[in-house]
Amino acid sequence: MRKDSYLPLFADAPTILQAHQKDEQVESILTLKIREVLRLIKGQLFINLHPNEIALFGKLLYLSITTLRGKRTLGEEYTDLFIVNRKGTNFVKRYKRLLFVLSYLLGPYLLSKISNALKYLKVKWNLAAEKRSNDESKTPQDEEPHVDTISQYFDGLNRIANLHLLLFYFTGAYYDLNRRLFGLRYAISHKLDNSELEIRRANSKSYRILGYILSMQLAIKGLPYFKAFYKTLIYDDNPISLNKVTTKNVKYNNEKIDLKNPKILPYIPEESRKCILCMSFMINPSCAPCGHIYCWNCLINWCKEKEECPLCRQKCDLQEILPLR
């Protein structure tokens, strides 16, 4: 915080966080409304197929009618903040705001798309490698895929975002990387008297504790990597990379598992090979936490409607559904 009398004060971490929470709330309401409209026009299936795109559209709509137009968002209004440039001397230029909105929304979305595509490629590559090693008795390990290194790069990006959050907790300047990149800083738009200044200072101090906790978490997470790195330093003729150890034993199978064929998953008895939801032989059988088995698609579609097992009504979160292999 600065002492200049004619320039507005920069906002502190708690206030920025509060504005963000409010914005997220409003965005989720907006997205919900969009979903309702889309359900009437395009049907439930469309919503189930494109949840991310709909959320993205909601955010885009919200930011383009607020930040892009140079208006305050509801969260900023709520906490009485407005966006200024890096030095706090002027408003942010329109093209910077546009670049911010685009990178803020499309960046993570595109990255997740690319990393998903890469994961798929990796699975394919592993399958091909397995086949090759089955065909020839030798184990060809000469060509390493670049995929691994690229996916590590994505992990690295994630870590950078975490580090940036850490920085935010300590300094309270930019909440996310995109804002730092394009210089969108928050300032308080009313004059502060001394008592309010005191309260704000105390609040931002307590946010440092969060920063310490986060840095501890990062350190603990990083420990195994340091260990692996240390090991490679000692036995450098036989390098061990963590990723290889974990992925080597996992067999990837991307093919459709159709229980019509009695040879597939023979441990499932004849009378329970049909899915009770679609009444045909199961395709990609999947297990709810309670143990009941359905087709993957049938169960997922129902759990999007209501998160419970169709047979016994036990809670069945989407992420708890296990595909059987």
Binding site: Q44, L277, M279, S280, N301, W302, P310, R313
Partner: protein, 165 residues
């Protein structure tokens, strides 16, 4: 929609059986449209509806089986019942509501549940206030007599099966 075709094949087999209690068939004869069904149900034994038959109109929504089928009584064959709206034929049955439905149930179960409902009315969520009052007062004699009085002119099972719907 593929599931309703499977159910249709199963129901057709059941209909062919000689001791079949409920008849269930699509309204149009062409198998391409399975969204509207008719069902003739017989009043269960030991209930005032015994020896009477009723016609159900069933609509299968496109999202079925994620959402339940819409079932009501035909306008000309509405039984007096505490969970049935006597003018519209609407049925209040908890498992046919969106929040209680489970995709495990099928069309046949739903119809059987309605037959059950005839025998075991639930006065806690009534659509026919007069009958539910009689039930909450535990005046079963008045309840049964009133239903029998209303049903006096209703067709017997063999009659409604013969006539054209």
């Amino acid at each position: 929609m593929s599931r309703i075709i499977k159910e249709y094949n199963h129901i057709r087999k059941l209909n062919a059986l000689p001791d079949n209690m409920t008849t269930l068939h699509p309204v149009s004869n062409a198998t391409s449209d399975l969204s509207n069904w008719h069902s003739i149900i017989l009043g269960p034994k030991d209930s005032p509806y015994h020896n009477k038959s009723f016609l159900l109109e069933i609509h299968i929504p496109t999202e079925y089986p994620s959402i339940p089928p819409v079932i009501k009584f035909n306008k000309n064959s509405i039984p007096p019942h505490c969970n049935v709206n006597f003018t519209t034929g609407e049925i209040c049955l908890n498992i046919l509501k969106n929040e209680n439905w489970s995709p495990v149930w099928n069309l046949l179960y739903s119809v059987q549940a309605i037959i059950q409902l005839l025998a075991y009315p639930d006065p806690s969520s009534p659509l026919n206030i007069d009958l539910s009052r009689l039930l909450t007062l535990k005046d079963s004699k008045a309840y049964n007599s009133l239903i029998k009085y209303y049903l006096y002119n209703f067709p017997k099972p063999e009659l409604i099966c013969d006539c054209e719907i």
